[in-house]
Subunit: 204 residues, 2 copies
Amino acid sequence: MDTGTPLVKTKLLGAALALVRQNGFNATSIDELCRAAGVTKGAFFHYFSSKEALAVSATQFWTEMTGQVFAQAEYNLFEDPLDQLIGYIDFRAQILQGRSLAECTCLLGTMVQEKYDSSSLIREACAIGIFKHADDVEKIIRAAKAKHAPLASWTSESLALHTQAVIQGAFILAKAKNDVAVAADSIRHLRRYIELLFHHARED
Amino acid sequence: MDTGTPLVKTKLLGAALALVRQNGFNATSIDELCRAAGVTKGAFFHYFSSKEALAVSATQFWTEMTGQVFAQAEYNLFEDPLDQLIGYIDFRAQILQGRSLAECTCLLGTMVQEKYDSSSLIREACAIGIFKHADDVEKIIRAAKAKHAPLASWTSESLALHTQAVIQGAFILAKAKNDVAVAADSIRHLRRYIELLFHHARED
DNA sequence: GACTTTATACCAACCGGTTGGTATGTGCTG
DNA sequence: CAGCACATACCAACCGGTTGGTATAAAGTC
């Protein structure tokens, strides 16, 4: 069996996801990372040329991982694209349940806020992950719009981006309050907005 | 004239706002802070017992500063509370115009994302600032709801928090894209949501 | 198929610079 | 001359990154 990527590298990336989501990127030292992964520093620099390179790899790792989670989620099986969209929103809310903040928040949102100005490489890598996911959501929205609200003035793209903004912002409120419930509340507002948007369009 | 707070302390706090918004809290060193403020390290530790204490002071400084900005904004003069609310949203969008990311994003959102798990003091200080502002918005929403949508099922509190989530999330997308326009787009969706919410209520 | 070469995968020790923080000094004010 | 408001000098710990090295295995050579 060949997994393609060596075990040590995967362990380092896994440790990076956990530690960066908990303490942020700058506060996570390479030594700490190696300790968590049970790996020496030499191994780290064998696989990553720098801490910045690890960050970029981590965003790719994250994007693949989460991409699979969403691709395998139930809501994709719904027939009506509007049901898929609402299903996606509900799925985002469901992910919050029973999870600690570090377990349910977004690595990319966390990292880009720290590094957007100091590392264009990391900023760009985060952007790719975020907007790729937004694009997946946009496909659903576009189909839903074509079917239920073809004349609506809003674009599928801007609504897709808005869903991501709400979710990212919900995480920040949750971190401030140290309680994921407030994030679920905000996602519920997002759900209602989308319902109103499509409900309104049908009445036109 | 006695400003109450010494000039050196104010200069340090001002430098802290600028540097933390640009590079984050962890990436901002005390030396760098002193250099930017034109002050020695001795002066820093004369006014702040630790870097953490500076962070807490900075959140209070920020909350007072932004509190004044919103208190003096035009939208407060509108008669109808719903106009005030829409005016507030537009004001938030307007702030983005012509400003760099570091100049228009929220210190508290930036800081709480970095420190929510590692410093409960900073987390709490950020929470106070964020939820105080949300409370100001809630007062407007409560008045608007009483007048235009008294029977609506959503609470003023959760809608106020949602406005803050959207704005915070919009900043993250803007940082990822390195472009404030995407934030303005999301705030426009927030505006439409509120309009739909109140429009819908009137039809009941 | 024995022998050499080269590349890979790691490791422990170490490096210069920076970090948050301190200890001590100094000038100014009442 | 007491005390506050700073300035200077310094420190141990930690930072990201480099070093010189070893063990293993694949690849080329005769």
